[in-house]
Structures are given as structure tokens and as C-alpha cells.
């Protein structure tokens, strides 16, 4: 069992060969985007952070940017800064460079403003793309796969069909020695006892309880009922009544295998097995979190129909809702039809998703990739903008 991926200096394997143009601060987004638009083979990562935040958040932003840069789907990285931001671009460059890939920096103030910065950045990216284009795909064992899972725009079909199907695929990846990462801690509320039973060690069990308590405290701090925010207005329209119901349907997307560890947001996960990354459920922050963790592909289970992808990680969109399959076919990569024999459907769908992952890993494009849906990412932060 194998796939065709791009070998990287640090021993990891990419399934894409992009040059990442990564903005280190909100103020550099415009230039970052222009460079990526100019250079075929380059992709932009944009976000709203990087300055006038507390140190806790600046650490989290720095850590996330470093690990995004290290993601094996990027053959090279150009970091773009304004020049006066709180995050330190040279620190980020040095830490990404440990992976062995080319990393360059560009400062807008230093270069003389937007126009010369776009020109210089485009030339750097052009060189990087040409160099990366000589890297050839090679055969790798399935244990090199690192896959994330997410559910979004959920309705009751998510918990009944597409989430269990994603979970079945996760079990297969786990059994082949790969890495499986899930999160969305808010959607553990009411289902954490089930996850805690699956913890590989008592420490992991305690950590699961800790991150759920912390997330619930954060939500309650605002003094309002979580309902409306979670489940979302769309979830409620789709038939989900409470966060507990949403959570019970959500956690099945992570399959049934033991949970090996819990990581804080934005950390790189290089071990094999099933892991939790503490993260919120909202797409721009979650997808960034697992991309930083190092996943090459994300399985995205949707009910009502979420179109988002991610700039340099292919997102495989699956649904069990026949209406969504019909009306939003431009965004759905795989429809899972529920038959009378529910159990068999799910197991078979898991196999099919696994095969699809390997096809995508070997170069097949997802619908979100082709449409370029997913330009607006973000990094999860805890404190206020100050």
C-alpha cells in the first residue's frame, strides 16, 4: 500500500509541491496575496494576527507560522512582513530553515513599499518555483500519511453518515501506521466522557478533561447561552438541538482507535497514531491548526455544505446529505449514500475515502483546490487585540 509523494529534506513527504508566500502579520496580507497571484505555483497564507497582542498570543502566532512553513506540502517559503510588527520574522525564518527547505524573507518598509516589494517577492518566488519543479514524486508507504479531519456546516446527516464514514477512514489510516489528527474542542462538550475512555494513558485522559473544561469556561465567560454560537444557527436549522447532540455526532469522525496525546494549538505532530489538537471549531482557525500540525490532507465532513479548502493542504469534502450533494455538487468531492444496511455502508465508505485520500496524495486535485476556495485563513488566538 503506497502513494506518490514529494520527498523532503527532513524525512517528511509532501503531497503538493507549492511555494508558500506566508504573511507574518495582518499588515503584509495585501503584498503577500499579490505575489502569490503573480507567480504560478505559489500560494498565499493570510491571517489577521502578528502584532499588538499579548505575549501568549504572539508565541502562539509565531509557533503556528513556523510549523505552517515546515508543512511538507511546501517546497519553499517566502515570509512577508511589514517591518514593525511584534512577531520576529528572522526567528520564524531560522526555525523553518531547520527543515532544510529554502526560506527567504521580504520586508515591505525595507524594500520601499508595496510595488518594489511585489516585484522583489515575485522574483524570489519565481526562482523557488523553478527549483521546486525539479523535485519528482516517489513511492512512499502509507505510514507516511498524516491526515486531519474536520466537520463543518453540520446537520444530522453529519453524525449519522459522513462523520462515521470519516471515522472509518481514520481507523484504516491508523491501522496502516499513519498519523491522524482531530480537534474542535468545543465539540467535545457532552461527549468528552467517550473520548476520555479512549485515552491511551491516564495523563491523556486528564488532558482531554482539561482542554474541554478550559474551552467551556471560555465560552461561559461571556455570560450567555452557548446555543446560537454552538450549535450554530445553521446546525439548528439542520436539526441539531444542543451542543451535546452536535458533539456526540462530531466525535465519531475521529474513528475508534486509542488517543495517544493532546497537543496545544499550532504545534507540529510528527508521531504516528491518533492525536487531538486543542482548537476551536471555526474553519479558518481549525484548518490552519492542523496544517501547522503537519497534515498533508484534511477530510472535511459536511451536512449543509461548507465550501472551504486551505491554501496548501487539499481538503476532501464529503457529505451524506443528498440535498447538499445535489445543490452544492461544485464543492462536494464524495457523496456517501446511506442504504438499509447502515453498518456496511459506513465501513465501505471508509475504504472508499481511504482510496480517495491516496489518489489525492498522489496528485488528484480536490474541488476546493481547483476553485481556489480557501484564501481567507486565520490563526486561533486567546486574548484580545491590545
Amino acid at each position: 500500500m503506497s502513494f506518490l509523494g514529494f520527498p523532503r529534506e527532513d524525512g517528511s513527504v509532501g503531497v503538493r509541491n507549492h511555494i508558500g508566500i506566508i504573511s507574518v502579520v495582518v499588515c503584509a496580507n495585501d503584498v503577500t496575496l499579490k505575489i502569490a497571484q503573480q507567480v504560478e505555483g505559489a500560494v498565499a497564507f493570510l491571517h489577521d494576527q502578528g502584532c499588538t497582542q499579548t505575549l501568549v498570543d504572539l508565541d502562539q502566532v509565531t509557533r503556528t507560522l513556523v510549523n505552517l512553513g515546515k508543512n511538507s506540502n511546501l517546497a519553499g517559503v517566502l515570509l512577508v512582513s511589514l517591518g514593525c510588527e511584534s512577531v520576529l520574522i528572522d526567528e520564524i525564518r531560522e526555525k523553518i530553515a531547520v527543515s532544510g527547505k529554502p526560506v527567504k524573507t521580504l520586508g515591505i518598509q525595507k524594500t520601499g513599499g508595496m510595488l518594489p516589494a511585489i516585484m522583489e517577492g515575485s522574483r524570489i518566488a519565481q526562482e523557488m518555483v523553478i527549483k521546486a519543479s525539479t523535485i519528482r514524486r516517489e513511492t512512499f508507504d502509507d505510514s507516511y500519511l498524516s491526515i486531519g479531519v474536520k466537520c463543518g456546516a453540520s446537520d444530522t446527516t453529519s453524525g449519522l453518515i459522513s462523520n462515521p464514514a470519516a471515522g472509518a477512514a481514520f481507523d484504516i489510516i491508523y491501522d496502516h501506521g499513519g498519523t491522524c489528527i482531530f480537534g474542535e474542542t468545543t465539540e467535545f462538550l457532552g461527549a468528552e466522557h467517550i473520548l476520555m475512555r479512549r485515552a491511551a494513558t491516564p495523563e491523556v485522559k486528564k488532558r482531554i478533561e482539561e482542554i474541554v473544561t478550559r474551552m467551556e469556561k471560555r465560552a461561559k465567560m461571556m455570560g450567555v447561552d452557548i446555543r446560537g454560537g454552538q450549535p450554530t444557527t445553521g446546525n439548528i436549522k439542520g436539526g441539531l438541538t444542543t451542543i451535546e447532540e452536535k458533539s456526540l455526532g462530531a466525535i465519531v469522525k475521529a474513528g475508534t482507535r486509542p488517543i495517544h496525546d493532546v497537543y496545544e494549538y499550532g504545534n507540529k505532530i510528527t508521531k504516528k497514531g491518533l492525536f487531538i489538537m486543542d482548537s476551536p471549531g471555526r474553519e479558518p482557525e481549525f484548518l490552519t491548526g492542523v496544517a501547522a500540525a503537519g497534515v498533508q490532507i484534511i477530510i472535511f465532513s459536511t451536512g449543509i455544505g461548507a465550501p472551504q479548502g486551505f491554501p496548501f493542504v487539499p481538503v476532501l469534502k464529503i457529505t451524506g446529505n443528498p440535498k447538499t450533494e445535489r445543490y452544492l455538487s461544485d464543492h462536494i468531492d464524495k457523496f456517501i449514500k446511506l442504504s438499509e444496511e447502515g453498518e456496511n455502508t459506513i465501513a465501505q465508505a471508509g475504504e472508499e475515502i481511504y482510496e480517495e485520500i491516496k489518489a489525492i496524495a498522489s496528485g488528484k486535485k480536490t474541488k476546493a483546490e481547483v476553485l481556489g476556495y480557501g484564501q481567507f485563513s486565520n490563526i486561533f488566538t486567546i486574548g484580545p487585540v491590545i
Binding site: T156, G190, A219, K220, M221, G223, T241, I243, L248
Partner: protein, 101 residues
């Protein structure tokens, strides 16, 4: 094959999920406590939404996936549409003192 129009996920559940848009007055056959029962729907139940298999007194748990998904905020009769109008969440309640279980 007749298309399955409802699903009960776990035998402990006191609610079923509609796999089609169901209308008030329709009679649904489902297994409740190992007995086949005819349940007449008291209201319309849209695709993906829930209805009650048993009477659930106010304050008692609503069960799906064999787990508690909330508590009845009023008496729920057999065949009632079950959603945010008659179920409250036990979690993330920043709006009430104590807040959660």
C-alpha cells in the same frame, strides 16, 4: 425496497431522526423497548430533525446515540417534534448561575 424514513441510532434512545420530510398525522413504525410501536406524529418533522418515541417529562433527559443530548424543557409527548422549543442544553450555559453539569 421501501426507503427507510426514520432512524433510531441506539436502543436506549427516546427520540428518532427523520430521514425524510415527515408530516403531522403520519404514523411511523419504530421499535421502542423491543416492541414494534405505531407512533403518530403530532407536528411536521423536517428531514434530519427529531421526534419523540416516549413521553419525556419536563426536566428528564433526552437521549440520542444512547447518550444524553439535553433535558426536556416541558412535557414532551409521544410523537412530538423535538427541538430547541422543548429541549434545553446542559452545557456551556453562561446565562445561568453554575452554568453546567
Amino acid at each position: 425496497m421501501i426507503k427507510k424514513r426514520t432512524i433510531v441510532i441506539n436502543s436506549k434512545d427516546n427520540v428518532a431522526t427523520a430521514l425524510d420530510d415527515l408530516k403531522a398525522g403520519e404514523v411511523i413504525q419504530e421499535e421502542v423497548d423491543s416492541l414494534k410501536k405505531n407512533i403518530k406524529l403530532n407536528q411536521d418533522v423536517p428531514f434530519g430533525h427529531k421526534f419523540s418515541l416516549k413521553e419525556i417529562p419536563s426536566g428528564s433527559p433526552v437521549i440520542k446515540y444512547g447518550e444524553i443530548i439535553g433535558a426536556a424543557s416541558q412535557l414532551i409527548k409521544v410523537g412530538d417534534y423535538v427541538h430547541i422549543h422543548n429541549v434545553k442544553s446542559n452545557r456551556g450555559r453562561g446565562d445561568i448561575k453554575g452554568g453546567s453539569q
